[in-house]
Amino acid sequence: EFKKEEWVLVASVINTTNPYMISNIEGAKAMSAKLGIPLEIVNSNNSSQTSISSILAVLASGKKPIMFVNTVASSDAPTIVDAVGKAGGFVTIWWNKPADYHPADVGPHFVAFQKHPGVSSGRCGAKAIGDALGGKGGVVMLPGVQDSTTSQTRVAGFEAEIKENYPGIKILDSRPSNWDPQLGAKNARDLIVKFGSDINGVWAADDGMQIGAMQSFENAGLLDKVKFASDGLYPTTLEDIKSGRGGNAIVGETFHRGYMASAVGLYTAYLAASGQMDPATQPLDKRESLFKLSCLTPANYKEYLKYDEPDAPAKFIEQLEKVGPWAAEPMPLVGGGAEEMPK
Amino acid sequence: MEAPTVLKLKDISRTFGHVSAVRSISLEIRRGEVIGLVGENGAGKSTLLKILSGVEQPDSGTMEINGVPVSFRSPNDAVRAGVGVVHQEQSLFTNLTVAENLDQRNAGRIGYKNWARVNNECVAALKKIGVSLDPTTRVSDLSFVDRQMVEIARAVSIDPNMTGTPLIILDEPTAVLEQTETAVLEREIRKLKEIASVIFVSHRLDEIMRICDRVVVLRSGKIVSDKKTSEVTKEDLFRDMAGGVSQTAHAIRKRLPEGAKPAIEVHELARKGKFKNISFTARPGEIIALVGSNASGREAVARAIFGAETYDAGTIGVKGKRVLRWSIRKAVQAGLAYLPAERKVEGMIAGFSATRNIALVYQGDGASGPFLKLRKLAEAAQGWFDRLEVRPNTISRPLINFSGGNQQKIVLAKWLNSPYTDVLLLDHPLRGLDVGAAQTVNAEIVKACENGAAVILIPDTIEEALEMADEIIVMRDGGVSARHDMRKTNNLTVQDIVADMV
């Protein structure tokens, strides 16, 4: 049977300078408090190298890990999973893994791979901008790091949605901005020079880059002539939506919170570790899961404010214990297997 | 009545590891005196002077300047106390202008820099020693000698309106100068007597006799004699320095048969602004001396033959073959060796041990294929240390820790070490060598000749040329102004040659 003192919760974040990751840590802390199992936080400082070496180091610390990992690059996943297996632990990977690397093939210690579908994130943004522009106009895209699956799927979703439902919208240019606000701002400036008033909409693969881009457009005095959509709903972004900055410049966001991801991830791994759930017998969509991503707009954002209350993480975890990791609002399971890319 | 005492040393000592460079030296210098400091290489001259100028701190002993006890923690203290120095090795900022290098009194400051003042003072200081250079040129653009003049100017340009008598220290300032500049320097030193006291180091004893009032002889760190110049002869000094052994006669050289195939043929060689239509041939066993005042272009010629500088016109032939696209590497492979005048900059790797410096060019059986046999290299080095009487006799020391003259010996050994060397280009090979060492080195040069090497010599002194050379080529303003075949002419005098030089 399951002895708490033999185990340690581990949450690995890509950095600690991004609200999503910080929220990840919150969730992990809350989970640790709930389960009464100590927590180790691993900070990858944006480097696969640091990520892997740090995780290996934690594994060497004796206790068996119940782990939740945000991989820096997809390619980190196999190494980490192997190591966890050797350490007799259980791990859930979030966001990035090699496309052909499946928990079911690897074994029970790779409990699950989980993510919010990047494609639907991209589609959310495309819908929001497309509608806001009345289906006509030019948009520029600011993807994240080029070889990140997350960025690639979001981009694919955005482009597909535009192609299928908004023929009148023209994608003018696309400048990868490495999730970096500065670079987002810089590329935005250059694009403003390049296309001037032809730009009616800006889509960024995450809010960090959007924050930079909006600043550039504001400086250029164009903020109220352009519509923005992105992913992640950073607190700052929420403020801008509330305040209707730049004549409601932000028209679309996606709603998901880091604390939810880490809670779900850790809890799934915990169920496996404590023997309450046998990964081997789970259906595929519970091994490789896609969780609901809500499209958020200035019209409906109020419904989500409750999830940012200080006690929200605790509440969410209580809910998890009742309904399990795959049915918790606002992010129930919506699909499984590899996220299929629109063609 | 006695002139006031400017410098008073009592029991000054300084040791480096197990070498005691200076041993309890006591010395007094009065106002207006010019002291000649002589001694073999490694005797401790520079070390003593470094102590006086605050570069090194003595292990024991006391120092008084103008009656005030001093202990210099930095060269700055020395400058403030009125001690100006020309170090044996050049110490100028090559990336700064002449004026800035002279602006030593303000070295301690970090505030506003008044260029007008700095430049004017520089012009004045240079005028003082009869040199005219643009104060705003980068030192790196000056020839070696011009740099030396800048150093001297810096030493003598210490604060005029200071109280007490300044002490000027000159560590082998003439080693790199030709007769003409030496004359300028002598005149300057005489002027200095009015306002200052001078310590003057040189290995050229006749110079010492001419310039100094008193001669102090140093041997292995101790003062062995301290006499009025009027009371000593060159022979006395030599005996005191060498410790008994008297001066040996010049090495007589057995000539190789005439008409051997020329090792070097230079024909109508020219480089704009440096030298023009230079022609001469050097056969195995011959010594060709290039004499001339500074800026006569002779060093440039030597460097061109070695491939270190380009030439615009004319041809160079090596062992009968005319060379094309000449480069240092090709020159070395063809058996040429070049001993540069700027030892410190071009001759030695200061951080390397003597062994590794000597092994730079040729490893002999110290190498097999791409691999090195370190013990063999050590043996070779040891051999040279013994032949050239390098002191101290420890091959593992970094070169920087040897005295100037001993460094010179090691750099020379580097080239003599290679049996494949059949042309020696020697620029001031005796620079900074004491009389004894000079003879040893000359002997080595002669030996190289007898073994079939051709030598192109840029001598320190005309005497040296007269002693060594088979042919003397006199250069003026980059051109040849006279030739003397020493095998045919005798009774050629220094004056004759100086006449062709100026």
Binding site: I25, P176, L183, K186, V193 | T94, G111, R138
Partner: protein, 323 residues
């Protein structure tokens, strides 16, 4: 000026030439490149690196190197924004925000300078250390609360606002640059830096205050990085611990391209500044020319090499040594 550093403008001449060439090519590829708007855009972008490079150049002239730039930018930027009117804290300490922000930079610079100069630790490692420390400070200040953004529209608008047709951000940089040039040409400090870079032994033998000069240089560099961090924060309108990212590999190459040899003793602030323009312009031009992002880094590298080769040509000689 000429007579102070005769060769001063030789390198830059070639550099400026190659900048002009590039500019022409880019304008040909996309006329908007030559537009006044883009000109202002470039001036806006060079502002931050221009401020940094004054310090960078001084340190490199010493023959040392300062890696701490990005760390200090992050720390100072975060401190500044948290002490100015921002969306996270109610407090607004006005001028003190500046004092403390820049103070952090000066302190870290002083620390690095002192350790390097007095305890003889390689500057490369010390400043790597202060880099991490700065980053650490930034991260701690960032904490886990929400990302702070500026409240005052005045401050946010200031960098872009035009004065005499040019953005304020650039004017600020220009002033710093001017001051830097004067400092390095008309003070004993500035010349001392070059002297030390040429030969530290001789410098101390002639009694220069070597330690003082080195420490001042590093402290100055730290302070300027901090100022740059504050300006960057203003430009972004929000604080972030790694808002300096990418700057180090803009300014050091810029300095080197400008002819400031890493071995010390050479080059000048103006020349480094020209280097900054080259790099920023190159980047901006590639975007405007619409080079496929996938090819961008490759092309950037190739052009960079081409440009520097072109620049290297003039003062090349058998005897010249490049490290």
């Amino acid at each position: 000026m000429q007579f102070v550093l005769p060769k001063e403008w030789k390198g830059p001449a070639a550099l400026i030439a190659s900048i002009v060439v590039l500019a022409i090519v880019f304008t040909f590829l996309n006329p908007r490149f030559g537009s006044l708007e883009n000109f202002r855009n470039i001036l806006f972008q060079v502002a931050v690196p221009l401020i940094i490079i004054v310090g960078t150049t001084l340190v490199i002239q010493l023959g040392s190197i300062d890696l701490s730039v990005q760390g200090i930018m992050g720390a100072a930027g975060m401190a500044w924004i948290l002490l100015s009117a921002n969306t996270r804290l109610e407090t607004d300490y006005g001028i003190w925000a500046w004092v403390i922000g820049i103070g952090i930079g000066l302190t870290l610079g002083l620390l690095a300078g002192a350790l390097h100069s007095l305890i003889k630790v390689p500057s490369f490692v010390v400043t790597l250390g202060t880099w991490y420390i700065g980053l650490g400070i930034g991260i701690i200040l960032y904490g886990d609360a929400m990302l702070p953004s500026l409240k005052s529209d005045v401050l946010m608008a200031w960098p872009t606002k035009l004065t005499l047709g040019l953005p304020n951000a650039f004017w600020l940089a220009a002033v710093i640059l001017g001051a830097g040039v004067l400092l390095s040409r008309y003070t004993h400090f500035g010349r001392g830096v070059l002297a030390i870079g040429n030969s530290e032994t001789i410098a101390s033998n002639t009694g220069m205050p070597v330690h003082t000069i080195k420490i001042i240089a590093f402290t100055l560099a730290g302070g300027l990085s901090a100022l740059a961090g504050i300006l960057a924060t203003m430009q972004l309108g929000a604080g972030s611990p790694d808002l300096g990212s990418g700057q180090l590999f803009t300014v050091i190459p810029a300095a080197v391209i400008g002819g400031t040899a890493l071995s010390g003793g050479e080059g000048g602030i103006m020349r480094s500044a020209v280097g900054v323009f080259l790099l920023i312009m190159l980047n901006n031009g590639l975007v405007l020319a619409g080079v496929n992002p996938a090819y961008q880094s490759g092309v950037f590298g190739a052009i960079l090499i081409a440009a520097i080769v072109a620049v290297a040509r003039p003062d090349r000689g058998i005897l010249k040594i490049e490290k």
